[in-house]
């Protein structure tokens, strides 16, 4: 009984803290900047996707990610690795064991969330710009590595492909973004020291 009461008191305190945090100007500004940047970037990206759809073309990011993943899979030793792109995505792999890289696989939405946090946290300045560029490169590097490895695993066969596609690679990319967010104050300090 006492435990339940203390738990509910703790939850109430956390909610009050969160409410108090919103009344603080710094946190409120962060949330507003974070969400508004995310909404603006998403709208621009959606507009670009709509434009490419009207042109009956595949978007450039998905194409480039697929092309690099194909090159990586070939370099990793997948023989007869084929690569063909359509309006809805690209197919990579050996005939009969291909994977489909669609717009949701290109990792750009993750990069946009990452960039929104950086802008929300630090505002628009040189340090944020450098971190956004480096972050997008890191996310896309892991994404190309993920798709290239998936092509290899699909070629090898077995259950490993399922676990890698479902858990391991996704966790790796999400953790890399969290790690970059944790590093942000240190990167800020280092960049400000140089300036």
């Amino acid at each position: 009984m006492n435990n339940n009461q203390s738990n509910s008191n703790q939850k109430g305190k956390q909610l009050r803290d969160f409410g108090a945090a919103f009344s603080d100007k710094g946190f409120r500004d962060f949330i507003i900047r974070f969400l508004s940047t995310l909404i603006i970037l998403t709208l621009i990206y959606e507009a670009y996707l709509w434009f490419t759809e009207q042109q009956r073309e595949l978007d450039w990011v998905t194409y480039k990610v697929s092309e690099l993943s194909h090159a990586l899979a070939t370099a990793l030793g997948v023989a007869n690795c084929e690569f063909s792109c359509f309006m809805d995505g690209c197919r990579i792999g050996v005939e009969g064991r291909m994977i489909n890289v669609i717009e949701g696989c290109n990792g750009l939405m993750l990069a946009l969330v990452y960039a929104s946090y950086i802008v929300g946290s630090g505002g628009v300045n040189t340090s944020s710009l450098v971190q956004v560029i480096v972050g997008i490169i890191v996310v896309q590097f892991f994404n190309v590595l993920r798709i290239g490895m998936l092509v290899v695993l699909q070629d090898i066969g077995g259950d490993a492909y399922f676990y890698f596609v479902k858990y391991i690679f996704n966790a790796l990319i999400y953790l890399s973004i969290l790690f970059l967010w944790i590093l942000k104050p240190y990167v800020d300090k280092a960049l400000n020291r140089q300036q």
Binding site: D24, F27, R97, M98, I99, M109, V113, Y117, V165, N170
Partner: protein, 82 residues
Amino acid sequence: MNKYISTSLLIFITVFSFGQQRMPMQPDPMLNNWFANKPVPIMPMTDTPPPPPDVPLDGGLIALIAAGGAMGYKKYKDKNVE
């Protein structure tokens, strides 16, 4: 006499019941003719393989946004403690 009648009835019923079981297997002659049969369209054999699997990445976007908000909240809290 009753014995013959009952045996004949039993045989009749048995044969009738077998006949009843066999009936649905055979098409009705009234419907099985050139006029009654409707043409069945010839469908091409579809042996196209299923499309390759997608490898989506944006399944945890909401969680990532929430994590961003939580990190911002933690940063605010740490600043207030200092």
